[in-house]
Each structure stands twice: as structure tokens, then as C-alpha cells.
């Protein structure tokens, strides 16, 4: 399991968030999640300009054996989706924190859901393994 990037925040549903300079937020799933799912075969992305609610459905990642919902860690509006995932969903497996980004969001005023620091997420993961 690779190290958790220090500049990201994490959710209990194994999503990561990166705050960009322009105020938008990039979201993906963590290394733990991609390993649990196995090779991804398909990603169902939201539409650009779609409105998201914190904790609501945002995307679906599908492997050979499972299809998992990815929830919006913040509410807001979809600014961009990673179209490359349409042809190469395995980018999420290969580089979950970089090329495997899923959605970029313009956060709304509703604020964010519960977010963890890298350390807190690591503790959370350790507890899961027990």
C-alpha cells in the first residue's frame, strides 16, 4: 500500500479530495479502494454542470466483481470529469491520486462532509484491518 499523499483530505468512503488554487476541488478514490475493487473495467461519470449534494451519488466505479458508488464529499457543481477514464478505467488502479482523478467540483456553500487528514485516514485504515 503506497503512502498517503500529505496534501489530500480523506473520507470514510475512501475518497480523497485536493483543494486547488482556484477554489475548486478534485476528487478520486484512494489506493485502498482501488485495491479492494480490483481491476476497474468501467467508470460512470456525472455530467459537467451537474449539481451534487454532499454524501449523494457522484460516480460509479465498476470492476469485474463489484460496482461501487462514489459519493460527493462536498456539495457543489461538477466542473470537469476525467474523460480519459472512458477508454482507460485502469488509470484509477495505476495512479489513484494522480491520473486516476475522477471529478473536479466547484464547492457550494453547504460546506463539506466529514473529512480526515492523512494521519486520521491512516488510523481509520488500520482499524479496518483489525
Amino acid at each position: 500500500m503506497s503512502e498517503l499523499p500529505g496534501d489530500l483530505e480523506y473520507t470514510k468512503d475512501h475518497e480523497w479530495l485536493r483543494k486547488e488554487e482556484d477554489g475548486s476541488v478534485t476528487v478520486g478514490i484512494t489506493d485502498y479502494a482501488q485495491a479492494a475493487l480490483g481491476d476497474l473495467v468501467y467508470v460512470e461519470l456525472p455530467e459537467v454542470e451537474q449539481e451534487l449534494e454532499v454524501g449523494g451519488d457522484m460516480a460509479v466505479v465498476e470492476s469485474v466483481k463489484a460496482a461501487s458508488d462514489v459519493y460527493a464529499p462536498v456539495s457543489g457543481v461538477v466542473l470537469a470529469i476525467n474523460e480519459e477514464l472512458a477508454d482507460d478505467s485502469e488509470k484509477i488502479n495505476a495512479d489513484p491520486y494522480g491520473d486516476g482523478w475522477i471529478v473536479r467540483i466547484q464547492p457550494g456553500d453547504d460546506g463539506v462532509g466529514e473529512l480526515m487528514t492523512p494521519d486520521e485516514y491512516q488510523v481509520f485504515l488500520d482499524e479496518l484491518e483489525d
Binding site: E44, E47, E62, S63, A66, A67
Partner: protein, 452 residues
């Protein structure tokens, strides 16, 4: 192994274990007004001999009339070989045989079926079938909503000639998902969708359903309708008769970019009329929409040893993985009917199916000519038609049909109650099973009935 696995004592001890007093208690969420206390017409227990006699007597009441009714289910000749093979135990008694390790034969048959459907419709992929044409349409509309989220509308437009019963079924099935259905107006002169008002049609819609041939047998301007719907940001659902696809333009070629979803009733392909069922619904779609398609899909692949094999695929759409977010609650197919259809299509081949289609059409055209030559009968619509047509009588239809029935002829479907704007109208159909002598008999009988 006993036929009935539980004794009364077994049942009692199970009820006791879960704390229920009776089996009826387990159904207490069904409202009392929906419960039937008696099944009238179902006698108390009978011996096998008594039941056989009873069934023969009841079946005899059907008689063997000459049937000129179409309206969604068509009497075509089914070669004896079809059901000789389809009723083999391996096919007939198999129950949900989808495991790759146990059912390669069935999976291959379904794969062949899917290939034939894509060949007929011109579409990218087909599923393993649905229950029937009507529920298939419902599934197609739900699929269109999922596949066209950019539209944000849940309003489905129906061309004027979409089967009204199919609409009722679609409304029932989709009722809790807030879909609404609106029908475009009928151009009474030629019996197709009135395209004159389309330019002003502003209300958004997620999909347009075009039935071809229409319920009335008329041929819609599918290119104009398809292009119009696409220009309005809607998907196009083609609701088609599979036999007609041997001679009519494949939905993939409708308009500039083709239909998005194709569905319809598969009964004409080797399935007997059987008083309404079982039938099967077929469904096919574009590559873009394949993950929104409900139902089973069989794929071909290679196993660990590199040998070719068949297996269910794209299962992440289905209930056992996605649960409430699955594309549908349907998790099976009409395996036996689809087996029969596959055998039927294999036997006929493209040329044979074309012959069936052309002969059905020419017999209908001949029948129409003969009937319209009788005083009191007129062809209702001026437009082109395929293997079904509407005639208008100079008097109420029901008594005429009764009189024909007395002479062992089922003259057609009375449209006057459901389509009062068409007057005393009758939907007639002649398939390849009707000989020239049959057509002449109908014409003579009708002439007698109307002459009185």
C-alpha cells in the same frame, strides 16, 4: 424425492420457529381488499383422468377459427422442427441456466439469439430477452431516462401509432418513477403521426417511441421523426415487428444517426399465439447505451486454457450486484421462447424470413382489395402499410364480427371502442398462413353479412 418437500408438521415447526401463527400471517402486508377468498371455476381436487377430460372440453371451446387478427401477436407458420428441438428436456426444463460451468449449450444458444437480433435490427448489442413487447417498452423508456440525463426530462413522447395497451403497461411499470407519457396526434388521412405540428412542439422530452409498422399497420416517416427527436435532444426508441425487419429499413439506419434503443414483441418468431403468452421481448441498443440495458447479456470469451466459451457479462448492471441501483428488477429472460426463436430464424434464414414477410404483406394487400370491393367497406387510411390494415364499415363492427365468428372466422380487431375518432373501424391482418381460398372465404362471408 417427494414432490412436496414439507409435511404439515414441518410447516408448523417452521412457523413456530419464526413466531408466526399461520402461513397467512406471512402475507399480512397485502391489503385485505386485494385478497380473493375463492377461485371460482377451479374445481376441488380431481383425478388425472378427470382433469384431462375437463381440459379437453375447455380447449375444444377455442375451436379452430380462421384468424385475421394481428394487433401485436401474429399467427405465422412454425416449422415442426422448432418445438421438436425446443421441447427437449435439456432446454424445456432448464431453470435459469446461466452458470458458465454448467450451461455452455444454453449460453451459446442465447449468444446466437443475440447475434440474430443485432443482425435484424442493425444495432450494436442485444440482451438475452425480456418478458414481452409491452414490458420491454417500459424497460426501454426507463433505459432512455438513465441514458439521457442531459435531458433532465422524464416525459416520453409516443408516435401516434404506438400500441395503446403497451402504453398502459409502460405507465403501470414506470408509475413510481415519475415518467409521463404523451402521444403525438394522428393524421387521420394516412394513418401516421401528424408531422405538421412538430416544429412548434416545444415541451422537452427524454425520448420518442416510434412503432413501425404502427399499431394500424401504417408506415411512419421514421427518418423525419428520428431526426426531429435527435434535434430536440431526445433518444429514439424503435418499437418494431421482427418479421418486418426482413424487408423494412433497420432501426440502425433510421434518420441521420439511427435509433438508440430497439425493442418489440418477439412472438412472431416461432412462438405460438397461446392465448396471449408466454411471449418474449427483444431489446437492442447502441454501444453508448449498453451499460444502461437491462436483462441478461451473454458474451463470448476464452477460458484459462484459451478455449472459446460463453458467459454472462456486464453483470454489474444487474440486481445481484447493484441491488436497488440495478438497471432493472428483471434478472432472467424468456429462455424457452428465445430458444424457439433462434431455431426458427436458423431454419428460415434471411431469405426465408423475407418470404414470410413478403407473403404476409401480399396476402393482407389482397384481402384488403377483396374486402374493399364489398359495398359498405372502405380502406380507412391512404398511406402505405405493412401486413396489417384498417377498414371502415358502414355499420357497428361488433355485430359484424359476431356474425363472422358464427361462421368460424375471426374477422379482425374492433377498433371502434378504443379509437372512436376512427368510426366503425376494424384492424385486419393476413399472414402467410392464409391461402387465397381463405381470403376468398372471408370476403364471401363478409359480403353475406353486410348484404343482409
Amino acid at each position: 424425492m417427494p414432490f412436496i418437500p414439507h409435511t404439515k408438521d414441518d410447516v408448523q415447526s417452521m412457523l413456530k420457529a419464526i413466531g408466526a401463527d399461520s402461513i397467512d400471517d406471512l402475507f399480512d402486508e397485502i391489503p385485505a381488499d386485494l385478497l380473493i377468498s375463492e377461485l371460482n371455476g377451479v374445481p376441488d381436487a380431481l383425478s388425472e383422468m378427470e382433469i384431462v377430460r375437463l381440459m379437453h372440453a375447455r380447449a375444444a371451446k377455442d375451436g379452430a377459427p380462421l384468424c385475421f387478427i394481428g394487433a401485436g401477436a401474429y399467427e405465422h407458420h412454425i416449422p415442426a422442427v422448432v418445438w421438436d428441438i425446443a421441447t427437449r428436456g435439456e432446454y424445456y426444463s432448464a431453470y435459469t441456466p446461466y452458470q458458465a460451468e454448467a450451461s455452455q449449450g444454453t449460453l451459446q444458444t442465447i449468444y446466437e439469439y443475440q447475434t440474430m437480433i443485432t443482425s435484424l435490427t442493425g444495432m450494436y448489442a442485444s440482451n438475452a430477452s425480456l418478458y414481452d413487447g409491452a414490458s420491454g417498452l417500459a424497460e426501454a423508456t426507463l433505459m432512455a431516462v438513465r441514458g439521457n440525463r442531459a435531458s433532465q426530462s422524464k416525459r416520453v413522447l409516443l408516435a401516434s401509432g404506438v400500441n395503446a395497451t403497451y402504453q398502459s403497461v409502460a405507465e403501470s411499470i414506470t408509475g413510481n418513477q415519475q415518467l409521463t407519457f404523451d402521444r403525438l396526434p394522428l393524421a387521420i388521412e394516412n394513418g401516421t403521426t401528424d408531422t405538421a405540428g412538430l416544429a412548434e412542439h416545444d415541451d422537452p422530452f427524454v425520448a420518442l417511441v416510434i412503432q413501425q409498422p404502427s399499431f394500424f399497420g401504417t408506415l411512419e416517416d421514421i427518418d423525419a421523426l428520428t431526426d426531429w427527436a435527435h434535434a430536440k435532444g431526445a433518444l429514439v426508441i424503435a418499437l418494431v415487428n421482427p418479421t418486418s425487419l426482413a424487408v423494412l429499413k433497420a432501426p440502425r439506419d433510421w434518420g441521420e444517426s439511427g435509433a438508440d434503443i430497439v425493442c418489440g414483441e418477439g412472438q412472431p418468431l416461432g412462438v405460438p399465439l397461446s392465448s396471449g403468452g408466454p411471449y418474449f421481448g427483444f431489446m437492442a441498443c447502441t454501444q453508448k447505451l449498453i451499460r444502461q440495458m437491462p436483462g441478461r447479456i451473454v458474451g463470448r470469451t476464452t477460458d484459462l486454457d484459451g478455449q472459446p466459451g460463453f458467459t454472462l457479462t456486464l453483470q454489474a448492471r444487474e440486481q445481484h450486484i447493484r441491488r436497488s441501483k440495478a438497471t432493472s428488477n428483471i434478472c432472467t429472460n424468456q429462455g424457452l421462447m428465445v430458444t424457439a426463436a433462434t431455431i426458427y430464424l436458423s431454419l428460415l434464414g434471411p431469405e426465408g424470413l423475407k418470404q414470410v414477410a413478403l407473403t404476409s404483406h401480399s396476402q393482407t394487400a389482397k384481402l384488403l382489395d377483396k374486402l374493399c370491393a364489398i359495398d359498405g367497406v372502405e380502406q380507412t387510411f391512404s398511406g402505405s402499410f405493412f401486413h396489417e390494415a384498417v377498414v371502415t364499415l358502414d355499420r357497428p363492427v361488433a355485430p359484424v364480427l359476431d356474425a363472422l365468428a358464427e361462421n368460424n372466422i375471426l374477422g379482425g380487431l374492433d377498433l371502434s371502442l378504443t379509437h372512436p375518432d376512427l368510426g366503425n373501424s376494424l384492424l385486419i391482418c393476413a399472414t402467410e398462413t392464409k391461402t387465397d381460398a381463405d381470403l376468398q372465404l372471408y370476403a364471401s362471408e363478409l359480403s353475406c353479412v353486410l348484404g343482409d
